[in-house]
């Protein structure tokens, strides 16, 4: 019986449970100096002087300014299509463009003296007016890069078609901010670097993409890639935001400059100011159709606030635009996007990365339309879903959805939640005049995983003792690949999971890789490992054929016991341990090491969430009481781990719906740079989640898997958002700003008052 589909407990757990995890900060590095960054307290200013003398006078302290750093600025890669000339110097020299930007680097004997010295670096600033919103940025009155002449870092879409809504008897519109959020991984970032006797750079980073980081580092430091090794050890969460940034490059640069090992670990306050943030898109939707509930045309305008220096966040509105039609067969869809610089922290991908925004806009549009024509929002959805038999389906925005059953998902969620009973309870409360209203919200979605159709590396090697090593270019920072990838290989090899060791995150041990983001790991990295395992099995058959004096074509693997024999006779047989020891003697063990690279197109995970909320109409307080989620990501390798991915995704999305928001004060000063200000929710803010499994395999890869890491987030925010508005419909409320916290609910109630 196959192990795939079983709830296998994670093999990586014990080291984390015992306090033996290899987080970067835990790795000993003899004689390492501590790095502390001196950061700008102003959002936009000219730097007129940096006096390092007092700091450098402290024992064991050295200070570097922008003038000392001879590495080039960190520019976005060309495929993000960012306006030329908007690049970030590693250390600011003449202008700072956000609170937290690096203005000097302190190197000290230990962390405490570094903090003391950093306070003594005196920087003179000449304040400039700060641009704090994308709307303000659009006016180009204050430019972040005057020499470029615009604050627009990226744009997409065509001119409006004035006839788009012709034929519609009902047109609704709305606008809201998918607010700026922190990825907030529990482990803050760290970097460390050392140079060995041969001048080779060994760099450790808390990153999701070690191989990409190696290429960037070698390029920026002018080194041959072979002269750089990047290790990403156990990483405490990433959520899309942990990539190589200025700090990591500087740590590597310092190790080479000083010829000493150096290390840096950020504080949480530093993390909240400098780890790139996400969302920050203003979504303006217009949806038209007929009063029988048929949708005919949709327009989505996206205005993205991408922070001070264009980074991945500049390109994400393209995904929002691509996914704008979501799960609906709407004949005409039009999108426009613009990415604007502001004097705030740079933005990047965070869990969902452009796709949540598409679902948030569309699902609010659907509910707004349903309220306008007086139809149950579930019915409007049902009437307009792309039908089950229409796949592969080409959307109006050019995506080709692989597989789906959107109506099936709706039926499942309504039945599981007891939709009719919930509506009855809602009526009962309304009739009783209960100040605590019940709200029910749906969030249907389809998202794109492995969005740019990447290639991933996998290699399987049989070890001397008959176990296996699986080397993967994917990275795991909590996703459980050491278990799920091992399961895929183990199933093909006929080995117990514990006999397959997954190796990742070290560019010396794994020759290539693309890392983990965009929910792509299993569908390309997992598959690559599986295909490599299959190739090893074929090689093993050849060895076994020689050892049993048979034809390789006649040799079969009995996966149940991990032994090969000639078809039709179960004995004699050779188990992996037998083959490995004989191959070792014969010098042929190397044949049992095969690598494989697997490229696949994107897949389109889908689902629908149903949220139930209590809304106290007096205080505005919202409590999520139930969250029922159908998430279909195709075949499941390990449902235990899959559940966990969905749960985490839901919480991240609920965090956006109800609690979290990065806030800047009038002068550009961040108000949410600790977990006191930033409302990261705890267990006390959530109910248990009701996950309802649904499996529609994709034809896009041989296992049938889609991505699952982000989809829970895509579905949950609009479901909860819609539930809050649904609760308040009798009060005349048609919209509540995100996050739907007490104050925003109260404001919506105030504005709706006649």
């Amino acid at each position: 019986m196959s192990i795939l589909g079983n709830r296998v407990r994670r093999v990586e757990d014990p080291r984390f449970l015992r306090g033996e995890a290899r987080y970067l900060e835990n790795i000993p590095l003899e004689g390492a100096l501590a790095v502390t960054f001196v950061r700008s307290p102003l959002a936009h200013a000219r730097v007129t002087g940096v006096d390092t003398s007092a700091a450098a006078a402290l024992p064991g302290v050295q200070v570097f300014t922008g003038a000392d750093v001879d590495a080039p600025p960190l520019g976005p890669p060309p495929q993000w299509h960012v306006t030329e000339g908007m690049v970030r110097p590693l250390v600011a020299t003449d202008v700072v463009r956000f609170v937290g930007e690096i203005v000097a680097v302190v190197v000290s004997q230990d962390r405490a003296s570094g903090a003391d010295a950093a306070e003594l670096v005196m920087v003179d600033y000449d304040p400039l007016p700060a641009v704090l919103s994308a709307e303000e940025s659009l006016t180009d009155e204050v430019l972040l890069f005057p020499e470029v002449g615009t604050n627009v870092a990226g744009r997409s879409g065509k001119e409006h078609d004035e006839s788009l809504f012709d034929g519609c008897d009902t047109v609704v519109s709305g606008m809201f901010w998918s607010q700026r959020m922190a990825a907030a991984p529990m482990e803050p970032r760290s970097s460390a670097a050392t140079v060995d006797a041969d001048g080779r750079l060994l760099y450790w980073g808390t990153t999701q993409t070690p191989h990409t980081d190696k290429m960037i580092l070698s390029g920026m430091l002018g080194l041959d890639p072979g002269q750089v090794r990047v290790v990403s050890p156990d990483v405490g969460g990433g959520f899309g935001a942990k990539m190589l940034e200025a700090e990591g490059v500087l740590v590597a640069w310092l190790a080479r400059k000083l010829g000493r090992p150096v290390r840096w670990t950020e504080t949480r306050s530093e993390n909240m100011l400098n780890l790139p943030q996400g969302r920050a898109q203003r979504l303006e939707f217009t949806l038209g159709g007929t009063r029988d509930g048929t949708l005919l045309a949709y327009r989505l305008n996206v205005l993205a606030d991408v922070g001070a220096y264009p980074w991945l966040g500049t390109a994400l509105p393209n995904f929002t635009a691509l996914m704008a039609p979501e799960v609906y067969a709407i004949p005409k869809v039009e999108t426009q996007t613009a990415s604007l610089l502001t004097n705030t922290t740079t933005t990047t991908s965070i869990r969902g990365a452009g796709r949540p925004e598409a679902a948030q806009a569309m699902e609010r549009a659907i509910d707004t339309f349903a309220a306008e024509i007086g139809m149950d929002p579930a019915e409007v959805r049902r009437k307009n879903f792309i039908p089950k038999d229409a796949f592969p389906y080409q959307t109006a925005t050019g995506a080709t959805y692989d597989s789906g059953d959107y109506e099936g998902a709706l039926d499942l969620v309504l039945r599981s939640a007891g939709y009719d009973e919930l509506r009855a309870e809602q009526r009962r409360r309304r009739e009783a005049g209960d100040p605590v209203e019940l709200g029910i919200g749906l969030g249907a979605y389809v998202e794109i995983s492995n969005p740019v159709g990447e290639t991933e590396f996998g290699e399987v090697e049989i070890t001397e003792d008959g176990g296996a090593i699986l080397r993967t270019g994917s990275f795991s920072h909590g996703q459980g690949h050491e278990t799920t990838f091992a399961m895929i290989a183990a199933e093909r090899l006929g080995l117990p999971v514990e006999r397959v060791t997954v190796v990742k995150g070290d560019t010396d041990q794994v020759p290539k890789g693309t890392g983990t983001f965009g929910s792509k790991s299993t569908q390309i990295g997992g598959v690559a490992g599986g295909l490599a395992a299959e190739a090893v099995v074929e090689r093993a058959k050849e060895l076994v054929a020689d050892y049993l004096e048979a034809s390789a074509a006649d040799v079969v693997l009995d996966a149940g016991r991990g032994a090969f024999h000639v078809a039709g006779t179960s004995e004699p047989s050779l188990a992996w341990a037998d083959i490995a020891s004989r191959a070792l003697e014969d010098g042929r063990l190397g044949e049992l090491r095969v690598s494989h690279e697997f490229q696949a197109p994107p897949t389109f995970p889908f689902g629908i969430h149903l949220a139930v909320v209590d809304v106290d109409t007096e205080t505005g307080k919202v409590v999520l009481t139930r969250h029922v989620a159908v998430d279909d990501a195709g075949t499941l390798i390990n449902p235990l781990v899959a559940d966990g991915q969905v749960h985490g995704g839901i919480a991240f999305g609920v965090g956006q719906a109800l609690f979290e928001e990065i806030v800047y004060g009038e002068d550009g000063n961040p108000m949410t740079n600790t977990f006191v200000g930033y409302a990261f929710p705890s267990a006390a803010e959530f109910p248990s989640f009701e996950r309802v499994e649904m499996v529609t395999p994709t034809p896009a890869n041989p296992i049938g898997v889609k991505g699952l890491g982000e989809s829970g987030t895509v579905g949950s925010t609009p479901a909860v958002h819609n539930a809050v508005v649904d609760a308040l419909l009798p009060h005349g409320v048609r919209h509540v700003d995100l996050p739907c916290n007490g104050e925003n609910v109260w404001k919506a109630l105030q504005e709706a008052k006649p």
Binding site: G620, T672, S682
Partner: protein, 268 residues
């Protein structure tokens, strides 16, 4: 983050603490759960910390005539389960149970919380509402400060630089209500409302509605004049000066105060 350097001395008696506090920029350390976060962010930079945390004779709850005497170093976790409070002033135990999180309640002390004079402190409001007497020891001996004279400004109390808060004395009152609105369970109160009946009168206190904990005097007067909870609560914002911050605007705080005062009066 790492605090700026400071000296450290552990007091072995209240008198010793008072003596140690003679040093310039010295500060008292009790449980540390108000002070250490400020030290870490380098918002506070004392030259000397006088640790009174080992003065176990300041951990007690006992009946003292018509009052309950609470030792300043009694931890939130102990107050929450204290049998004397459960019987004689259960509101103190209720409030203790809702402060911070379990880890904070294991270390934080009522004296530290009150002496910190944070306008967002639940205990500060409760002491004010209960007309507590706060006992301090200083170079000139012991003095008792009425709660309505104790809270001078944000993070500023009537304690002198060499005074140590040693005891909090509250009246025995049955019932009482403390309601607070928080974004998340672990947050400080966005607004808190205490309502108790003391000696036949109704006392109402407000948390996070001004630079110090406040008494809602207009509400108290209205109740005394026989107003309904709703009518009395409409006056919750009178005399208040709520902050606007990332947790909530001043206008929202005022609205919440009205709602919570009405609910508290209804439940009283």
């Amino acid at each position: 983050m790492i605090p700026a350097p400071f000296e450290y001395a552990r007091a072995d008696s209240v008198g010793h603490a008072v003596e140690l506090l003679g040093a310039e920029d010295a500060k008292v350390l009790a449980g540390g759960h108000s002070l250490i976060p400020l030290l870490r962010l380098r918002f506070a930079r004392p030259s000397l910390l006088v640790d009174i945390g080992r003065l176990d004779d300041l951990r007690y709850v006992r009946e003292d005539g018509d009052r309950i005497a609470i030792g300043a170093l009694t931890r939130h976790a102990d107050l929450a389960h204290d049998p004397v409070l459960a019987k004689r002033c259960p509101l103190v135990a209720d409030v203790a149970e809702g402060i911070g999180d379990p880890q904070v309640r294991h270390r934080g002390t009522i004296g530290g919380s009150v002496a910190h004079a944070d306008p967002a402190s639940d205990f500060a409001t409760l002491m004010l509402t209960l007309d507590a007497e706060l006992v301090a020891h200083g170079p000139d001996g012991e003095r008792t400060i009425p709660a309505d004279e104790f809270f001078v400004g944000p993070f500023e109390s009537a304690l002198g630089p060499r005074e140590v808060l040693t005891e909090l004395r509250v009246p025995a009152v049955g019932g009482g209500v403390y309601l607070k609105h928080v974004r998340r369970a672990q947050d400080w109160a966005l607004v808190g409302v205490a309502a108790v009946r003391v000696d036949g009168g109704t006392h109402v206190g407000l948390t996070s509605m001004g630079p110090t904990p406040l008494r809602a005097s207009a509400v108290e007067q209205a109740v005394a004049d026989g107003a309904s909870p709703a009518d009395a609560a409409a006056r919750a914002g009178e005399g208040a000066d709520p902050p606007g911050d990332v947790q909530g605007s001043a206008a929202y705080r005022t609205h919440l105060a009205e709602v919570l005062v009405r609910r508290a009066l209804e439940q009283l």
